[in-house]
């Protein structure tokens, strides 16, 4: 088991994770980071903001960076302007 800390950095400022969570190993950290990014952006989207400039930094107990996940990695983006996927619809 390993305890990892998920620190969030985006337009709303930095949010440090002081509690962390216990995981079997590092592998689950990426999907957990994605899930958390989606949850945060979904809540902001309800208020009319989609800010994908942030990132989650996953650190171990010594504060060493294990993984950096940019918000934008959590989404497939379909935008109307000259985007083929969008115009195909």
């Amino acid at each position: 088991m390993v305890r990892l800390y998920f620190h969030t950095f985006n337009g709303e400022g930095d949010t440090r994770d002081d509690d962390g969570i216990e995981l079997e190993d590092d592998h689950a950290a990426y999907s957990i980071a994605l899930e958390n990014i989606r949850s945060i952006v979904a809540d902001e989207a309800r208020r009319g903001l989609i800010d994908l400039e942030g990132h989650i930094d996953v650190a171990d107990g010594e504060g060493q960076l294990v993984l950096l996940v940019p918000f934008v990695e959590a989404f497939d983006l379909k935008l109307p302007d000259g985007d083929e996927e969008w115009s195909d619809r």
């Binding site: 709303e12 949010t15 957990i32 958390n36 945060i40």
Partner: protein, 239 residues
């Protein structure tokens, strides 16, 4: 042993000494349950219900993708599975969040209580109705309130419920759960929950640290939550 339950009922309707004795007589045994133990499993056949004497428990449902929704928090004096008396099994699991003291109430003793103490029976019915009212307010939160408002609402509710039991201070109450578990109550991931807590802290409304919630601005917190305690039926003679 049942002081919290009596206190909770007394806040709604006066309990006579005979009724208090009758409540005490419901209990067959007591047990200490370790933290994180499932006390009542979903779909398990039930022949007794449980009064929480001390500690903190929850009802929850797990989905295949690993997501957990906590659907209710139970404080001392609550009867988390009283509805199991008429339903015979539960559709959700009941788990101890902390080490908890519980008292077992065999259903045949509830049968006898119904014959001998109709008014008390009506008060127990009130308890299940109160649980349902709390569920409905949680539905409103899960469906409609913003992240910070969800957390604010839960804090207002718990402060009120702990106050009834004499377990809260004017502006603080114990909340012995992790950020992940709090998120499972609010339908939010733990990182998201962390950010929402930061928002409440930065707006000077409330602080959740070291398993304690400190309310800095009660009026502001209630306003953000649109908290109306009517659903907690704190007026006397509610039952």
């Amino acid at each position: 042993m049942i002081e919290r339950l009596v206190r909770k009922l007394n806040a709604r309707d006066a309990i006579t000494p005979e009724e208090e004795d009758a409540l005490r007589g419901l209990i067959s045994t007591t047990e200490t349950i370790p933290a994180k133990k499932v006390l009542v499993a979903r779909r398990e056949k039930l022949r007794h219900s449980v009064i929480l004497l001390d500690g903190l428990m929850c009802r929850y449902r797990d989905l295949h993708n690993g997501r957990r929704q906590i659907t209710a928090l139970h404080l001392p004096g609550d009867f988390p599975d009283l509805h199991g008396y008429t339903l015979h099994y539960l559709d959700q699991d009941v788990m101890a969040l902390t080490r908890s003291e519980v008292a077992f109430v065999p259903h045949d003793r509830l049968d006898r209580l119904m014959d001998q103490f109709p008014r008390l029976t009506r008060l127990l019915w009130f308890l299940t109705n109160l649980d349902a009212a709390i569920h409905r307010e949680w539905e409103v939160s899960l469906g409609q309130r913003s992240g910070p408002a969800k957390a604010a609402h839960l804090f207002c509710e718990l402060h009120t419920r702990f106050s009834v039991l004499g377990l809260a201070e004017d502006t603080a109450f114990p909340l012995p759960m992790s950020q992940t578990e709090l998120g499972e109550c609010l339908g939010l991931t733990f990182v998201h929950t962390n950010r929402i807590l930061r928002t409440l802290r930065e707006r000077g409304l409330a602080d959740f640290r070291n398993r304690t919630v400190v309310i800095r601005d009660m009026a502001g917190l209630k306003a953000l939550a649109e908290f109306d305690p009517a659903y907690l039926y704190l007026n006397r003679h509610a039952g």
